[in-house]
Symmetry: C2
Subunit: 338 residues, 2 copies
DNA sequence: CTGAAAGCGCTTACAG
DNA sequence: CTGAAAGCGCTTACAG
């Protein structure tokens, strides 16, 4: 393995000079720089990032915590994060696990393995998140947020998006609305439910609690909940689901009972994952600007690594209602958000 | 930040002794060990993994290269890899990008950032793979393989799986078979096509080349290819697709023309991704033992990090035909593989 | 069994 | 502008 010392020997300079050239220091003669660079390519030298990290206290590595990578929304988010990190010359360490996947992230922070962490699936109960903040480690939440913590957060306007869905459904003549929500903890789940309820109240409708179910963001739970709803004596005519995966499960659940979407029941999801636009489902949904959100999350995190102390902010991106066949294609333009 | 020196001071021993205790060395008195461990918890000490890695020349980090994480097969593979690496106490660095995503992996190997790399999407043209092998870096290919390289490789029996699909279709009375393949490079694509062709030949059927299309493993390409095939004067009665995503696209393509699957055309995929079993598609497909494959890949890689020199091997796992509604549910049991 | 010391491969004040 | 030296925080021969 070739080190900077070998390069120095080949170039006839000191090891410190090699380091200076590679750091792009100004204090080097053009002549010296040239000799060093030639020696670098002659020897095939690559700096050892561990040694560099040890000195600089920067690993150029960002941790990303994501559960449920099998929900297609997250691969899209990871892809965006990955591109963004790569262009900032950062490596990405990924923790993904249905269970305590973020424990690894905390360990990595403590062991100085990563410079910062992006939490995409996190709840107020996350010990790693709070521990990281307590240690002043650079952290940003993306997609989900946690109230009352001093931390940069990037989400979209889940509340507004859900309210808009209700306005759209009510505007199309529905008054018996169903809701298949998510678990209690995650902010996405909570905000979309609140948006739904506020929208229903604002429309002056009565919400039948028997039409409100709760699942785990999964296809399976959407499937089961929809079957439940449709076998009620007085089923909903339109069902809003906490995310696309649940909505697609709901559509499949309706079909498993021989019901047609949107003929018998309208279905709306949230996220606009790729498969939402496939013929098999053709799902009306709310789109989040994933690329922009990932971009900002990385930018905020890198800024915070540079210097702590800046006031943390919560950025909420606007959403966009995407109307498709699962709601009988009532024109979307009248429902555009601001 | 607390270091082993701080712990030593607190315990009244030398820094070397702290290190020995943490390494689980035998040459330590129980009494000393106890004092050190108490000092560790009192100070909240966590070893700096960078410093450790610098000394040991092991980062405990494995790189994973995967393109097209938006193909749901790969998240499943990553999840399995992630679990396996976590239980081996290894970190996972992920490179994912549609373009030259594996360039980062090569750089990481050269800079000693990772101990080894799992290539899941790779072709014979991959410069990083060949460079890594040339440098004797620990490497394993998973899912895809490359012929003629000295490298541990873990795949499933794509050839056998595809042949079995043909036997199943022919056994059910089909003689006009279509094929929607993948790109030229990847071994999965090549082997599944070869298996298909061999199966057709073995059945004594004539293969109409106009019924053989090529896509990019994507929903979109399956969609387009199926529309092409179904608008031929003499369309196929059954279409085998190189992977599930293509097959699902093919089903949607058929539906977009008002055709029914399996009434008008049977469709078979490959991978058995989660959505293959959803009502919306209910896809007959070939299942690969993802968990076992990931397990073995990690095991082989870690072995090779321990010591080079062992003869590299290519492990091919058996597959399993999973018959569902997209092929009219002809009983599968008569087609079980050995 | 334990300590003092060397060294992993860099970066960066400090002199000159 | 350049070199000699210190030091990042560990592990591990080498003495004793």
């Amino acid at each position: 393995m070739v080190t900077s010392r070998d390069v120095a020997r080949a170039a006839g300079v000191s090891q410190a000079t090699v380091s200076r050239v590679l750091q792009g220091s100004d204090n080097v003669t053009d002549e010296t720089r040239k000799r060093v660079m030639e020696a670098v390519s002659a020897t095939g030298y690559e700096p050892n990032v561990l040694a560099r990290a040890m000195k600089t206290q920067r690993t150029q590595t960002i941790g990303v915590v994501v559960a449920r990578i099998t929900n297609p929304y997250y691969p899209q988010l990871i892809e965006a994060l990955s591109a963004e990190l790569a262009s900032a010359n950062q490596r990405m360490v990924l923790w993904t696990s249905e269970g305590a996947g973020d424990a690894g992230a905390l360990e990595a922070i403590r062991q100085r393995m990563v410079d910062g962490v992006v939490f995409t699936t996190v709840t107020a109960e996350s010990v790693p998140l709070h521990e990281a903040l307590r240690r002043n480690a650079p952290v940003v939440t993306l997609n989900r947020s946690v109230e009352g913590i001093a931390c940069d957060q990037v989400t979209s306007d889940n509340l507004g998006g859900s309210t808009q869905v209700v306005q759209y459904l009510v505007g199309a003549g529905h008054s018996r609305l169903g809701f298949i929500g998510g678990p209690i903890g995650p902010s996405t789940s909570a905000e979309r439910e609140r948006g739904f309820r506020q929208g229903v109240a604002a429309a002056g409708l009565h919400l039948d609690e028997r039409l409100c179910r709760r699942g785990d963001f999964s296809h399976e739970d959407g499937h089961a909940a929809m079957r439940d709803l449709l076998t009620l004596a007085d089923p909903p005519t339109a069902v809003f689901c906490v995310n696309d995966l649940t909505a697609i499960g709901a559509i499949d659940g309706a079909r498993s009972l021989g019901r047609d979407v949107p003929e018998d029941v309208w279905v709306v999801g949230y996220d606009d994952i790729a498969m939402a636009s496939w013929e098999g489902y053709d799902l009306t949904t709310v789109r989040q600007p994933i690329t922009q959100m990932a971009e900002l999350a990385v930018k905020l995190l890198l800024q915070r690594i540079g210097k702590t102390g800046a006031e943390p902010r919560h950025h909420r991106y606007p959403h966009e209602l995407v109307v498709r066949g699962s709601t009988a294609r009532t024109p979307a333009r009248t429902f555009d958000h601001d």
